[in-house]
């Protein structure tokens, strides 16, 4: 049986003492869980180790901790898997596993964090229940089967808080609604039985700490033990809010997307000098003359002046941007016209559709790794994807 060096972060906020590492040698197989090791220490060495756990089957979501820097469930993380995450042995010959409480939430004691203070407050913020469509049917709502498939990924969430722990936006802006709650929001925005899709999207778009505060860091996707891919749900909310419902928010979120797309349509390449002023001042060349854009440009002068003086940004690029050759630009414009001209936006979610190359012996090149956002739940190669299926189903059920 190999011996692991388990380092548990101990802290009692009522003690007046600082946090410290509590080290224990644990003899267990590498396929035992990190939770097994923690419980062994608690049962055999020190009964005061604080850890919250229950089912030990990755269902209850209680035992979220950070193991060698990565958040997850202690009960479904093998000791060896956690140990392999370290790039140095800490000077110790034994494999080392540092277990810490999750981040972005206050510590109650040792590995137990205050989920009420952060996670559950944020869940409550997004109205986490179905708002019935009227009239309420006498019995259950009848919706097409496909319509609910779209929200199965968000329904897989077990509220463990691992994504909240490592959200890099929340780390800087604690007000951010965050990945778990926004995924929960998609669960209802994507549900054809819910009556308030638009109001939900409008509310989340307008909140300065809402839909557009996510910085695309992908930490939540890697953190989630259930393949919910919270960031992907946030992007789906953005598509529904900005592209489908055309909600223009006060945070420049949709304007930024619109400006970005328009610039690529007009130039083929991103014209960075135009992006900021258009996001603030409106999506045209004249956007920069809008007072809102002027204020931001003025504020940015300490960056702009040295950039211009050092020749980082040439006046030509700043004024006119860079452009593809006419034939290529024409081809790009045609793509925009065709795709944006569709009656129904096409969206593919591999969580639902699966990967048809799993049956294909052809090796997929490096950089094109299979399997998105976690394990596919269902293997059906059918296309169009669930995004479209649910959208069309959604309108069906509304008319029902």
């Amino acid at each position: 049986m190999p011996e692991y060096l388990l380092k548990i972060r101990r802290y009692d906020p009522t003690s007046g003492h600082a946090a410290y590492w509590d080290e224990h040698a644990v003899e267990l197989s590498g396929s035992n869980s990190v939770l097994d090791a923690i419980l062994k220490v608690r049962d055999e060495v020190d009964g005061s180790v604080g850890i919250r756990c229950s089912c030990q089957q990755a269902i209850c979501g209680s035992c979220g901790v950070r193991m060698n820097g990565k958040p997850g469930l202690a009960c479904n993380t093998h000791l060896q898997e956690a140990a392999d995450r370290r790039h140095d042995g800490d000077g110790d010959a034994r494999p080392v596993i540092e277990v810490e409480p999750m981040g972005n939430m206050p510590v109650i004691r040792d590995l137990i964090v205050d989920m009420d203070a952060v996670h559950w407050k944020k869940i409550q913020r997004v109205t986490p229940y179905l708002i019935n469509q009227e009239p309420i049917p006498e019995r259950e709502y009848i919706v097409p089967h496909d319509a609910m498939v779209d929200v199965t990924q968000t329904m897989a969430c077990i509220q463990c808080g691992a994504c909240v722990s490592d959200c890099l936006s929340m780390e800087i802006d604690p007000g951010f609604i965050g990945p778990a709650a926004l995924s929960k929001a998609y669960r209802f925005v994507g549900d054809p039985r819910d009556a308030d899709h638009f109001e939900r999207l409008k509310d989340l778009s307008e909140d300065p700490h809402g839909l557009y505060d996510c910085t695309h860091c992908f930490n939540c996707i890697d953190a989630c033990p259930k393949g919910v891919a919270p960031m992907s749900q946030i992007m789906r909310l953005r598509r529904k809010a900005g592209t489908d419902e055309e909600i223009t928010d006060r945070n420049n979120g949709n304007r930024h997307e619109e400006a970005f797309s328009t610039l690529v349509q007009d130039y083929g390449l991103l014209n960075e000098a135009e992006l900021l002023p258009r996001s603030w001042g409106g999506n045209s060349w004249f956007g920069k003359f809008h007072p809102d854009a002027g204020r931001v440009l003025l504020k940015s002068l300490p960056a702009i002046i040295p950039a211009v003086l050092r020749g980082k940004v040439s006046p030509k690029i700043a004024m006119f941007g860079h452009k593809l050759a006419p034939d290529d630009l024409q081809a790009v414009k045609k793509i925009f016209t065709k795709v944006e001209g569709r009656d129904q936006r096409i969206e593919l979610n591999l969580y639902v559709s699966g990967n048809d190359s799993d049956d294909d012996p052809t090796p997929v090149a490096v950089g094109a790794a299979a399997g998105e956002d976690g394990a596919p739940a269902d293997k059906s190669p059918t296309f169009p994807g669930p995004g479209e299926a649910s959208e069309s189903a959604s309108s069906e059920s509304e008319s029902a």
Partner: protein
């Protein structure tokens, strides 16, 4: 080695020193670059959050153009391009029907994307194609005594499955490995794998600048002489916006931020000026002894 080369937009716009330094470094690494000058913006994840099919089509077009060249694979010099393109490619490669739909959008130009393109950031190229031993042998000006903090950004390290990061391909350690191969000292600090904040600069400038400022400050506290980034967007927030980030976090910063090809170029003997290092907002004086044109701290 001949590669289909995608420089991205920002390397030819607001960080011209990146594209320029790559062009200078390529022959020294025996890389022949076939520039994909007909390809459009990758969308940086923003077009995908606006319309997924649009982003997938634009990138399928880029991939198809790359496949028309006689390059062995496609190479990029921008983490954001790497991540955004990997996401599109994942969908295109996973579902044949979807790929057919997207290819139909390219039919007017007679272009088709065939599943299975290999697309690697320069960082991955260095370790997996060129090799650290070869790289080490090419170093003429070891970065001895230079303390370099790697700053990966997000798109090149997450999600790990999509980016093919595993025990065989520890791509989240490549920057450290390359810095060491060039003779430099790796500085470990809190921000190595964090977000530079650039994606939310128009939506929440305060948070965006706080992110940049905090990571720069952490690297300074860990005694770094400079940071190195494989992503021009990170460079914009960490270098161009550094004066604003400093005001936001209320401390002096002044930490030089180098593009990966610039760090390579220094170790391979190129002159700092030729690598466009005079264009940075934060002058890399702690990296370069300008009078002698050598890396600070290193014997010539």
């Amino acid at each position: 080695m001949k590669v289909a080369y995608w420089p991205g937009c920002v390397s030819r716009g607001f960080t011209p020193e990146l594209h320029g330094s790559m062009a200078k470094v390529a022959p020294l690494l025996d890389l022949e670059l076939i520039e994909l000058d007909r390809a459009a913006c990758c969308g940086a994840g923003v077009i995908a959050e606006h319309n997924q099919e649009l982003a997938d089509t634009l990138n399928a077009r880029t991939f198809a153009l790359a496949q028309q060249t006689d390059g062995e694979l496609m190479m990029n010099i921008c983490s954001t391009c790497q991540g955004a393109q990997a996401e599109c490619q994942e969908r295109l490669d996973a579902n044949g029907e979807y790929r057919t739909t997207i290819n139909a959008n390219l039919a007017d130009e007679g272009l088709t994307y065939e599943k299975g393109l290999t697309n690697k950031n320069l960082l991955w190229m260095l370790v997996e194609e060129i090799g650290l031993e070869t790289l080490r042998a090419k170093v003429t000006r070891p970065l001895s005594g230079l303390k370099v903090g790697p700053f990966y950004g997000c798109y090149i390290v997450r999600p790990v499955d999509r980016l093919g990061i595993d025990a065989e391909h520890p791509r989240d350690r490549y920057m450290q490995m390359v810095i060491e191969a060039l003779g430099g000292t790796v500085i470990d600090y809190a921000g190595v794998y964090k977000c530079c904040g650039f994606p939310i600069v128009t939506m929440n400038m305060e948070a965006s600048l706080k992110m940049a400022g905090r990571h720069l400050g952490d690297a300074i506290d860990a005694d770094a002489d400079c940071l190195v980034v494989p992503c021009p967007l990170c460079h914009l927030n960490l270098d161009l916006q550094q004066p604003l980030a400093a005001s936001q976090v209320g401390r002096e910063l002044g930490l030089p931020v180098l593009h990966l090809p610039q760090l390579l170029g220094l170790a391979l003997g190129l002159e700092p000026k030729d690598l466009g290092m005079s264009k940075h907002v934060v002058k890399p004086t702690s990296v370069i002894d300008w009078a002698a044109s050598v890396v600070a701290g290193a014997p010539a």
